[in-house]
């Protein structure tokens, strides 16, 4: 399988505290990769390193066959987009203006706004169904709408690779599915390669082509959800006693939790 993006033996640390050690993953091109793992397993940190927001202490992140450090900042931003967990909409900004900011890496000092920019913003807003909100202020939108607006911004960046850090957090279940369906559409119809960090195991199993399971800063399993998700893995990685059945809707593995295996003493 060819790959656009890969981590090769990366060790990641914040303020000298090692969060992930010697991690290697390959992101298959044109697929949806989902990273799962218990809290503090280093999945967000890995995602930040893949997007060059965090420099590895050792090892390389390789983008399109070249060390990611060898690209210019804007060049990286034209190849991969990241939706972080926390963003702030500036006071009083409209949806249209916010989405348009995704075009920054395509603009230069003396070529500020072009037809392609206009077209990319319009397409992004149509796909995420926020075109009707263009003149509204972002502050006054609901959580689900707001998340779609942020997605539209990263979408307008027109990168072949999109990294999304828990795009469903703080959304109710219907809006979670809404966002995930949208992501699948971006992958299937637009051919974008996606990497997502998700919390919900069943959503991960349903939407991932390729699953990466992390625990304590290391990758413990990778592969198709049906191969990776086993009773043993759940017990070992998530400290969860569970049964696995087949999701009657999507025919993917479905985790039925039974009990926590954490000892409370």
């Amino acid at each position: 399988m060819s790959e656009l993006l890969a981590a090769q033996g990366v060790t990641l640390a914040y303020d000298g505290v090692t969060v992930a050690r010697d991690v290697s993953i390959a992101v298959p091109t044109g697929r949806v990769t989902v990273i799962i793992g218990p809290n503090a397993c280093g999945k967000t940190t890995l995602l930040r390193a893949l997007a060059r927001l965090l420099a590895p202490k050792s090892g390389n992140v390789v983008l399109d066959g070249k060390d990611i450090r060898k690209y210019g900042t804007k060049e990286v931003a034209r190849r991969l987009g990241l939706l972080p967990q926390a963003m702030t909409a500036p006071f009083g900004i409209t949806v249209g203006d916010l989405v348009a900011r995704g075009r920054f890496p395509h603009q230069e000092l003396f070529r500020q706004w072009s037809v392609e920019d206009e077209e990319a913003v319009r397409a992004a807003m149509r796909l995420t169904r926020v075109a009707g909100l263009a003149d509204r202020e972002v502050d006054e939108l609901s959580g689900g709408q707001r998340q779609r607006v942020w997605l539209a911004m990263v979408l307008a960046q027109e990168t072949p690779l999109m990294l999304l850090d828990e795009p469903t957090t703080y959304l109710d279940i219907a809006h979670q599915l809404d966002v995930l369906e949208l992501c699948r559409k971006l992958n299937r119809e637009e051919g974008r390669t996606l990497v997502m960090v998700l919390h919900d195991l069943n959503q991960a199993a349903r939407y991932a082509d390729h699953l990466v399971v992390m625990k304590e800063g290391a990758v413990v399993a990778t592969g198709a959800p049906a191969d990776v998700l086993t009773v043993e893995l759940l017990a070992h990685t998530f400290r969860l006693e569970a049964r696995i059945v087949t999701d009657p809707v999507s025919s993917t593995p479905m985790v039925i939790p039974i009990a926590s295996l954490e000892r409370h003493d």
Partner: protein, 320 residues
């Protein structure tokens, strides 16, 4: 924007007619275009009123732009150079010069710039945490450092000789009275050079308001942009303070007013500069026209108006 500039120019022109010696508006324009009659009016306009107005315009512009940058970097409407201690630091520099060494306006101006830049460096370093500067951290550190420096300023005034202390106090009130060309040049030059650079950085700064990670993934070199913009903004605030003494609230209010007048997409650095210039020149005109007999120092004037504005902002603001 154009309207703001027009208002600024009209107010400035009006300000030049006002004073003990009345000069008609038509004469003012004639003199400025080099067609004066060489009389008393021309000397008054060229040597007294024009420097005064220009000091107001450029100091106001510098404060407005500086405020816009600081509010963006700290992501807080209160993050302006007068709140986070930089103006106080510039004052400490200036008062030290006046009280401890004597020295003319040039030395005082230089000392103010040094004081402002040093204060900024101290605040920046103290608010660094793991190589990053957080908004609230910067704000709170700045307020703390500002309080210490304010006390130090008071101490310097008490310790100094009476004449020096009076001089220092006059300077502390912030005033456009008796500004000469030597006051104008530094702030004018600084504004002309630094303002365009800050205007170029404005887009990156507004992307950074959405969060460092998001800005960085859009291709902004976040820490470098922040450091250079803060340096430029500190320089502007210090130069303005050197020219006029500490003038409160222009830096705080100008960017907010521009945003509320015009809506926004990008950080309005140039708009805030225009608004700052307009505010300061207008405030100066009002202090001259005010029926208080004596010339009210403009710093006190902006303090009164700005204080009321701040209270209004605090009572209705939803994202401070």
């Amino acid at each position: 924007m154009v309207a703001l500039l027009a208002v600024t120019v009209s107010v400035a022109a009006l300000a030049m007619t006002v004073g003990t010696f009345r000069v008609e508006l038509a004469d003012v324009f004639a003199i400025l275009l080099g067609r004066g009659d060489g009389g008393v009016g021309e000397r008054i306009v060229m040597n007294i009123r024009l420097p005064r107005v220009l000091a107001g315009v450029f100091a106001g512009a510098a404060l407005g732009a500086s405020g816009a940058v600081f509010q963006s970097v700290s992501r807080n409407a209160l993050g302006s150079p007068d709140v986070i201690g930089f103006t106080t630091g510039a004052a400490t520099g200036a008062i030290s010069q006046i009280v401890l060494f004597g020295g003319g306006p040039n030395q005082v101006a230089a000392a103010a710039v040094i004081g402002g830049v040093l204060t900024a460096a101290v605040v920046y370093l103290l608010s660094l945490k793991g190589g990053m500067v957080g908004g609230y951290r910067l704000l709170l550190t700045g307020i703390g450092v500002g309080a210490v420096l304010g006390a130090l300023n008071g101490l310097l005034l008490v310790r100094g000789a009476l004449d020096d202390a009076v001089n220092a106090n006059l300077w502390l009130a912030g005033s456009l009275n008796a500004r000469k060309w030597t006051h104008v040049y530094p702030v004018m030059l600084g504004t002309v050079v630094v303002l365009p650079l800050l205007a170029l950085a404005a887009r990156r700064l507004s992307l950074m308001e959405m969060g460092d990670d998001l800005a960085r993934q859009l291709g902004v070199a976040v820490e470098r942009t922040r450091l250079l913009s803060v340096f430029g903004a500190v320089l502007l605030a210090a130069l303005a303070t050197a020219a006029t003494g500490p003038i409160a609230f222009v830096a705080l209010a100008a960017p907010q007013l521009v945003v509320r007048l015009g809506g926004r997409s990008d950080l309005p650095v140039v708009g805030a500069a225009a608004m700052g210039a307009c505010l300061l020149v207008a405030a100066d005109l009002i202090t001259q026209l005010a029926p208080l007999g004596a010339n009210l120092p403009i710093g006190r004037m902006t303090g009164i108006v700005g204080g009321l504005y701040l209270i209004w902002l605090l009572t209705r603001g939803r994202n401070l």
